[in-house]
C-alpha cells in the first residue's frame, strides 16, 4: 500500500510541476519514467484528468512511442542497435550473442531482474559500429568478448 501511495504522490508532484507547459504530456511521461522506470497503468487516469484528456488519449500516446513502457523493466536496459551501419559490421552476430548470453529476447527481462533487452534503431555511433547502449552508457566497436566484459562491469 505504501508503495502505491509513493507512486501516486510521485505522479501528482510531476503532473503539478509540468502540466502548464505547452504540450505537457511527453515531458510528464518522461519525468515519470525517469523516476519510476515506467509509466504504471494505474497512473493514467490521474494524468488524463489533470491534462483534461481522455484515458484513451494518454494510453494511446504511451503505446505509440517505443521508449515508454507500462511495466517495470530490469535494473538496467541493454539496447542493441539493429540499424544498417551496425549490420554492416557484424551487428547480427552481436544481437544473437546478446540474446543467448542474457537468455532472453527483445522486450524481455532476465529472471534475476538485472537486465532488460531492447532493440534500438541507431545510436548515432555509426562510426564505431556495432554499438550498444546500457542505460545512458554507449559502447562502440563491440565484439562478443567485449559484450561479456561490459555485462560483467555493468552487473557489479
Amino acid at each position: 500500500m505504501t508503495e502505491q501511495k509513493t507512486m501516486m504522490q510521485t505522479v501528482q508532484t510531476i503532473v503539478a510541476d509540468l502540466k502548464d507547459k505547452p504540450g505537457a504530456l511527453l515531458p510528464i511521461l518522461h519525468a515519470m519514467q525517469n523516476s519510476l522506470g515506467y509509466v504504471p497503468p494505474e497512473t493514467v487516469p490521474t494524468i488524463a484528468k489533470e491534462l483534461n484528456l481522455s484515458r484513451a488519449e494518454v494510453h494511446g500516446v504511451i503505446s505509440f512511442y517505443h521508449y515508454f513502457r507500462d511495466h517495470a523493466p530490469g535494473k538496467k536496459t541493454v539496447r542493441i542497435c539493429r540499424a544498417e551501419s551496425c549490420l554492416a559490421m557484424g551487428g547480427k552476430d552481436l544481437e544473437s550473442h546478446a540474446k543467448k548470453t542474457l537468455g532472453i529476447d527483445y522486450h524481455e527481462t532476465t529472471a534475476d531482474g538485472k537486465f532488460s533487452l531492447e532493440a534500438v534503431y541507431c545510436l548515432g555511433n555509426c562510426a564505431c559500429s556495432p554499438a550498444i547502449q546500457i542505460d545512458n552508457d554507449v559502447y562502440g566497436r563491440v565484439s562478443n568478448t567485449d559484450f561479456d566484459e561490459i555485462l560483467k562491469e555493468q552487473s557489479a
Binding site: 511527453l26 540499424a83 544498417e84
Partner: protein, 512 residues
C-alpha cells in the same frame, strides 16, 4: 603555466573509452605532480583515432591517438605535454590529411573549443552572425539565407530561405522555431556531433531564425537516444542565457528568444516535421496532411520554422560572412557544404565536411580508406534507411542533390554506410520493410499495410519461393507505397528495396 590537454566528451569517443582516458590522464598528472588543464572538447570526427588526446603547444595542437588507458603512463614518459615523440603521436592535428582536405564551415569550431563555454565560442568567431543579424532588417536576414542557397540538410533539401520568408510574411502574435534533432537515420551522427561539440552554433542559428521571422520561442526536439547531447545542450542554453544571448533582451537589443529542449521517445517517424509537431504538442506522432504548411499553420496552429540541426548550425557563418560567401561553395543548385558521415564498413569512419561536388568514390577511398575488413566495397547506402543502395558502377556520381536524384538515389542527411562483399542485399531489402513495419505511424494504408505485406513478400523472396510471382508483386507493392504514402516513411522505403533489387538482382535469386 599549466598545459592544456583536450580529450573529447563526444559520446562516440566516450563509447571507445574517452572518459576512462581522461581520468587516467588527470590521475597520472596528479601522481607526477604536474599541473594540467583538461578540456573536454567535441570530436574532430576522426573516429578511428578516438579517443584522440590533443596537447596545446607553441606550434599548435599535437594529437595522439587512439589512446588507451594503458598508454597514458608512457605518454607522460615521452613528454607528450611538450609534443614528445611517441608511437601514437599523429603530429599537428590541423595537418592530418583527413582534416586538412576538408572545407569546414559548419563544423569550424567542433573539436576546437570547450563546447559549453560562451567565452571560448565568442573567442572563435561565435555570435558574429547574430551581431550582424541584430543590425539588419528581418527581411535582410532572410535574404542572406536565401542568397546563400542553403537547402534543408535534414534530407528533403527544401530551400531554407523560402521557408523563413513564408513564416516572416505570415502575421501572427506567436511564431515558433523548431530544431529537428530527431536524427534517426542510420549512418548519421553530424547533428549529434554539433550538439555535443559546438551546441552554441545551433543556439545562435536558432536565435537568428527567431529574430528573422519574429518568433520568440524555440524548441529543440531531441531524440531520446542522445542523453549526452541533452546534458550538453541544457548546459549551453543555461550559459548562453546567463551571458545575455538568450532571454528577454538579447544583447540589449530588446529582442526576445527563449529556447527549450524537448525529448522524443524513440519514434523514427517523429523526424518527419508534422509528426514531430504532433509529438511536441503531446500527441501520438502521426503525420499530418499538408497543406496547411507548417510555415503557415504549424506548432499549436502557429507559423513555424522547422529546420534540421545542420541547416540551423550553418546560419551563423552565413550571417557572419554573407550569403554570397556560402554560395561560392558547391555545384549546380547544391550550394555550400555538406557534412558527410562515413559509417559502416570503412577503415576511416568519421565526419567529412566538403563542398558539394566531390564524388562518392573520392569520399569512400580518399577519406574512408576503403573497407575496414579489407574486402571490396560492394554496396553503399547513402542517405539513411530510406536511401538507395548504390553499386560500384555508381560510385563516380558527384555528391549533389540533383545528380543523386538522376540515378534514383538521395543524399538525405549525408550518411554513407558501406558494406563489403559479404552483404546480402535481399536481406537488407527485407530489413528495410521490417523497419517500416516497426516505425510506420499507421495513418496511411500504403505505409501501414504495405510494409507488412512487403515484409511477408520479402520473406518469401529470401527463401526463394515463387520468385516469378513474388518479384512482380514486390514491384507493384513498392509502386503503391511510392505513390500513395502520406510521407517519406512509406513513400521512400521502396528506395532501398528497389535499388537493391535493381542493382543486385542475383541476391534475390533473379537470373541476370
Amino acid at each position: 603555466m599549466s598545459v592544456t590537454v583536450y580529450i573529447p566528451c563526444d559520446s562516440s569517443a566516450v563509447s571507445l573509452g574517452a572518459n576512462r582516458v581522461a581520468n587516467a590522464v588527470a590521475q597520472e598528472a596528479k601522481n607526477r605532480g604536474i599541473e594540467i588543464n583538461v578540456v573536454r572538447n567535441g570530436s574532430r570526427g576522426m573516429y578511428w583515432l578516438e579517443p584522440m588526446v590533443e596537447v596545446a603547444t607553441e606550434k599548435g595542437r599535437i594529437a595522439y591517438g587512439a589512446v588507451k588507458t594503458g598508454d597514458v603512463a608512457s605518454l607522460f614518459d615521452a613528454d607528450f605535454l611538450n609534443g614528445g615523440a611517441h608511437a601514437l603521436n599523429l603530429g599537428l592535428t590541423e595537418e592530418i590529411p583527413y582534416l586538412k582536405k576538408q572545407q569546414r564551415l559548419t563544423f569550424a569550431r567542433v573539436g576546437i573549443t570547450d563546447p559549453v563555454s560562451v567565452e571560448d565560442y565568442v573567442a572563435h568567431d561565435g555570435y558574429r552572425g547574430l551581431k550582424n543579424a541584430l543590425s539588419y532588417s528581418q527581411a535582410d536576414v532572410v535574404k542572406h539565407v536565401s542568397d546563400s542557397g542553403l537547402r534543408g540538410r535534414g534530407g528533403a533539401a527544401f530551400p531554407t530561405g523560402i521557408k523563413w520568408n513564408t513564416v516572416l510574411n505570415t502575421p501572427s502574435e506567436q511564431k515558433y522555431i523548431i530544431c529537428n534533432a530527431d536524427e534517426g537515420d542510420s549512418g548519421t551522427f553530424s547533428d549529434r556531433m554539433i550538439m555535443e561539440g559546438d551546441p552554441l552554433v545551433l543556439i545562435e542559428g536558432m536565435t537568428i531564425a527567431g529574430i528573422a521571422v519574429g518568433a520568440t520561442q524555440g524548441y529543440i526536439y531531441l531524440r531520446i537516444e542522445y542523453p549526452h547531447a541533452l546534458e550538453i545542450l541544457n548546459k549551453a542554453i543555461e550559459n548562453a542565457t546567463a551571458a545575455g544571448y538568450l532571454g528577454d533582451n538579447i544583447n540589449g537589443s530588446g529582442k526576445t528568444f527563449h529556447l527549450e529542449v524537448r525529448q522524443g521517445a524513440g519514434a523514427y517517424v517523429c523526424g518527419e516535421e508534422t509528426a514531430l509537431m504532433e509529438s511536441l504538442e503531446g500527441k501520438r506522432g502521426l503525420v499530418r496532411f499538408k497543406p496547411p504548411l507548417p510555415a503557415i499553420s504549424g506548432l499549436f496552429g502557429k507559423p513555424t520554422v522547422v529546420n534540421n540541426v545542420i541547416s540551423l548550425a550553418s546560419v551563423p557563418v552565413i550571417l557572419d560572412k554573407g550569403g554570397e560567401f556560402y554560395r561560392d561553395f558547391g555545384m549546380g543548385r547544391s550550394r555550400g557544404t555538406l557534412p558527410l558521415q562515413l559509417a559502416g564498413n570503412l577503415k576511416h569512419t568519421g565526419l567529412v565536411e566538403l563542398a558539394f561536388g566531390a564524388t562518392l568514390r573520392e569520399v569512400l577511398y580518399d577519406f574512408g580508406g576503403g573497407s575496414a575488413t579489407g574486402k571490396p566495397i560492394r554496396a553503399v547506402q547513402v542517405g539513411g534507411p530510406l536511401g538507395s543502395y548504390l553499386p560500384e558502377s555508381q560510385f563516380d556520381t558527384p555528391l549533389d542533390y540533383e545528380a543523386f536524384a538522376e540515378i534514383w538515389a538521395v543524399l538525405g542527411h549525408g550518411g554513407i554506410v558501406a558494406f563489403d562483399e559479404t552483404v546480402d542485399l535481399a536481406q537488407m531489402a527485407k530489413y528495410s520493410m521490417e523497419f517500416c513495419v516497426e516505425e510506420s505511424c499507421g495513418k496511411c494504408t500504403p505505409c501501414r499495410i504495405g510494409s507488412t505485406r512487403g515484409y511477408e513478400v520479402m520473406d518469401e523472396i529470401v527463401n526463394k519461393r515463387d520468385l516469378d510471382k513474388n518479384i512482380p508483386l514486390l514491384r507493384s507493392l513498392c509502386d503503391t507505397m511510392l505513390n500513395g504514402s502520406l510521407c517519406a516513411m512509406g513513400g521512400m522505403t521502396p528506395y532501398p528495396v528497389l535499388s537493391a533489387l535493381n542493382h543486385f538482382p542475383e541476391d534475390f535469386g533473379v537470373k541476370v
